[in-house]
Symmetry: C2
Subunit: 209 residues, 2 copies
């Protein structure tokens, strides 16, 4: 058994292979279009067998776009939500942003994926559909957290589960819009700035209705 902090040769090799394949995959996709690239080509260019490819990635798409985001540990989620008292939406957006920041996130890989998405915008909604699991987990977490907030300090009179569902959908929308801006390269600052801008636009639009 090997439970120390150093990864060990075996795991290091594995990680190397994974990132190498991901890089090759996204590069080929940028070159020829993601549909035109075959798994066999990716494998040939990364020196692994097709069978091994599917040990690493459940689908071709996963290798090109990356694994779907995972939810932070529950206590971290609670902490972030509590940091935004009376503004569940901002809290949930912050959680999603952290999930995003915490993902694999080799910077150059992210950059290349951004380039790819710019060239093939139809990949963006697919990526969003992969948020599904995250979304469901988040609804549970937010709902539980809301139930622990005394009614006097809540900013709505909705049932916790209803507020949680809609808040999570809204937060995903905010993140989605921010990612679109980020992909378009328009936003001057980082994601934070784009998120703040989106949130204030959101307020204007909703209040105007």
């Amino acid at each position: 058994m090997h439970t120390s902090s150093t990864p060990g040769l075996r795991d290091r090799k594995k990680l190397d292979t994974v990132t190498r394949v991901q890089r090759v995959a996204v590069d080929l996709a940028i070159d020829r279009g993601s549909d035109a690239v075959t798994v066999e080509e990716i494998c040939a260019a990364s020196d692994i067998s097709p069978r091994t490819f599917f040990n690493y990635f459940p689908t071709k798409e996963t290798a090109i776009l990356g694994r779907p985001l995972e939810l932070l540990p529950p206590d971290e989620v609670r902490g972030i939500l509590t940091d935004h008292p009376g503004a569940a939406l901002r809290g949930v957006v912050a959680v999603l942003d952290r999930c995003f920041a915490a993902s694999d996130a080799e910077p150059d890989l992210m950059t290349r994926r951004r380039v790819l998405m710019e060239a093939e915008p139809q990949l963006i909604p697919r990526q969003m559909a992969a948020f599904d699991r995250l979304e469901q987990q988040l609804v549970v977490a937010v709902s539980e957290w809301l139930e622990g907030v005394p009614a006097a300090r809540r900013s709505t009179d909705l049932a916790a589960i209803d507020e949680a569902r809609l808040t999570v959908l809204l937060a995903v929308t905010v993140i989605r819009r921010s990612i679109m801006e980020w992909v378009a390269g328009a936003s001057t600052g980082g994601r934070e700035r784009a998120i703040d801008a989106t949130l204030s636009q959101l307020e204007q639009i909703v209040k105007g209705s």
Copy 2:
């Protein structure tokens, strides 16, 4: 050439076949799970050849869940938007609702799809990803419409394209939430009621942030 208003035998037969296949597809999916159903089974049960299946439907998913929604003709879109002055969000939601109502919409087929989605919730985000095209077209339409509204009557000071993008995303979110309620069978009334409820919840949540 046949350009009269009556469909003609050929087209009637075609329509019959399409709806029959759709019914068989969704029924089999309810019985065995949509992943476990093969195109061959659907074809055997609906007396067409697999090759013909793919003449009718681009994918298996399309046969089970239905074609993605199509945008109403541009003048209708403009009309609906103009019916909701100063509340672009409500207007866009109304447009989406009409698109929904105008889709194939054999009532019993819709019911069965509702049952299927209840059993396999992961189908819902997939369905939403299919909104992609509709969403893009809608952004263009809304943006053009907003540009025709004098600034004094606008409820925000955002650039038309920015307001259009975010408004469409929000409207899709509202529709998505309403469909989820409708699928869950919770809403007492029809979609309209669910949409109104969602919109007012939305206001509460955003104003509370």
